[in-house]
Amino acid sequence: MKITGAEALIKALEMESVDVMFGYPGGCILPAYDPLLKSSIRHILVRHEQGAGHMAEGYAHVTGRPGVAMVTSGPAATNLVTPLCDAYMDSIPMVAITGQVSTTAIGTDAFQECDTVGITRSITKHNELVMSAEDLPLAIRQAFHIATTGRPGPVLIDVPKDVLQNSMTWHWPTDEEVQASLPGYHPTTKGHPRMIKEAAKLMLAAQRPVLYLGGGVLKSRAAEVVREIAELLNIPVVTTLMARGAFPDSHPLCLGMPGMHGTAAAVTAMQKSDLLIALGARFDDRVTGKVSAFAQEAKIIHVDIDPAEQGKVRRPDVPIVGDCKLVSIEILKALRELLDGGEVQADIAPWRSRCSGWQEQFPLAYEPSAPGAALKPQFCLEQIRDHAPEGTILVSGVGQHQMWSSQYWHFDEPYTWVNSGGLGTMGFSVPAAIGAKVGRPDKTVWAIDGDGCFQMTAQELITASISNIPIKVGILNNSYLGMVRQWQEMFYGERYSEVDLGGGIPDFVKWAEAMGCVGIRVDSPEEVAPAIERANSINDRPVVVDFRVEEFEKVFPMVAAGASNDDIILPPSQNERREYLR
């Protein structure tokens, strides 16, 4: 039976079990929107193509399934560049479909033509310009296979208009045909047995071990087995920004987040460690600080599915290429065998007590606001956290509010934290929260945003209102680009350059209402809890709470860019205790 390329495209997406896609129609992709009318796939019409991309990411974050975005050629494709790069940096499985001018017009600078595959080459795991309708089903199958296996990432399929219009004979490629079409793609998932044994031995011998969990633990769904390893050997755990929730914050072994704004305990434990067991983590500069001064006495076990991460920043003593979950299962097995065989773990009780000492001496801390003074952003977060229904998903933008979110929330379940880690994309929060809510409609989704971030993508709340996606947005509104302001205060002699967002404009409540949301403004501490309770009780439309917070609040602890983690800047109230960090 002959069908059009457009019908084949939609059918292929259905075959890949796509239940929802985020998109925006336009010239070249028009043919694909016609068969969509009778498809089972729910299409969410966004207000800007960037929103479609971040929604697809948010959806993928919380469901583990690839997010799908479909937009037209030219400016629509370039608007997708930011989310693609974001997904690439954070290894988010995503499939993007872009329209392209007809094959005969390619290269002529036709209307809305751009070199989409050229532009997105370095920010996608793979991309492909499909030149014939017959090739579409295989291209789509390859895209989903590549996006979701190995190290996940975004894949873009660029489809010229005539390819969508031409007719073809439907054929759905078999697994074997997909494999054969990708002769160079065989991700290693099983770790090397000798390396695994070696790792287990080092873990038993270590006196100051730390489990360093990265986003790969969540991607491979390894949280449970990793917890078994931690509990078997009582090894302290740090969870990076991409791994928040991979290990419960409430667990006695959890030291919290390491890195530039990590807890003093997590940062210092890594610095003093004699063995870092890095699982699905990539030694990002925000974690290591000055690399040459990072965890100098530590041996490194590095488990990562991407061989290029091994030795990219720090040379591992035991490199293990493989899927975090599969490797962790094998490591656990090897540990049990060694212990059953009479091997004894080194005494790490002194190390444990040092770590707990740091935790006790250096908790996350802020000065509560004096009576009548401005609200503290940390207080707002604590209140949202304490009023949140079980399993609430937290989504943040990028900046101070992101760091406070990561610090003050208690993440006790995997897949309850969505944020832009590697790329640091301001404006991520609102659309990503919408995608997360679409993926998990059963859960409460709170987006925590800054007033700077919110103004970048807020129009997607119209999408949320119209498509009945009732998210909640808490704006920590300090009328400043807070993180930049903090750097200017600390590192540029308080010379504030272009960071004042002009307090008072816009009126976020009116703006929220204009977009079909409930808007609530909060100025004083006693208004916080009632506002949150009200927001939590509204489920028929999005809610925006404008928390007017203290302008000059800073994020602590902090390791200055390029500084050693030893030189962590503590909150002023903890400075006199600094010597305990040794």
């Binding site: 080459r121 793979h126 002769p183 160079g184 991407d306 290029a308 030795g311």
Partner: protein, 179 residues
């Protein structure tokens, strides 16, 4: 004058790729994006038209080389990468140059070409175009000697390479079969 990288830093990567549109762009943009420098590059289809071989000479230290190889291998269309040890491979390159001559030194240049077994491709009133195929080192030597006469234009293809055949291994295998 550009000379070939020093032996410690010069590495030949023989990269087997799917013969598809855009693959060379992918490889080249990966080098640009990660800040690696390509010294020379040669691309052509292999005996199997589904695949092409890209021979890349890079000028880097060991750790960077490891990253290059790993990053290259992440490209979906890259099927196999082998690093060819210059000691254990045969390398060839083609060189063409147009050299200025006056009547007097034409004979000297032709003589030099004969010594190197180069070919005279074209003869003009005041210039000669020569070609030479051989190892890159031999081409370097020839280029240096020609330079004194005045090179008008020069073009080199970049090297291609294959592993040297291991005669011992082959004979062992044959022996194994016989017994």
């Amino acid at each position: 004058m550009s000379t070939y990288p020093t032996p410690q830093r010069h590495h030949i990567l023989s990269v087997l790729v799917q013969n598809k549109a855009g693959v060379l762009a992918r490889v080249a943009s990966l080098f640009a994006r990660r800040g690696y420098n390509i010294f020379s590059l040669a691309v052509a289809p292999t005996e199997d038209p589904q695949f092409s071989r890209i021979t890349i000479v890079v000028d880097v230290e060991g750790t960077t080389l490891e990253q290059i190889v790993k990053q290259l291998f992440k490209l979906i269309e890259v099927v196999r990468i082998s690093e060819l040890d210059p000691q254990k491979s045969v390398e060839r390159e083609l060189f063409m140059a147009t050299v200025r001559t006056d009547g007097e030194n034409r004979g000297q240049i032709v003589e030099l070409a004969n010594i190197f077994e180069a070919k005279v491709l074209a003869v003009g009133v005041d210039a000669l175009t020569l070609s030479l195929e051989g190892s890159p080192e031999k081409l370097d030597d020839f280029e240096e000697l020609l330079r004194g006469y005045g090179i008008v234009e020069l073009q080199r293809t970049g090297r291609i390479a294959l592993p040297k055949l291991d005669r011992e291994a082959h004979s062992r295998a044959v022996k194994g079969k016989a017994s």
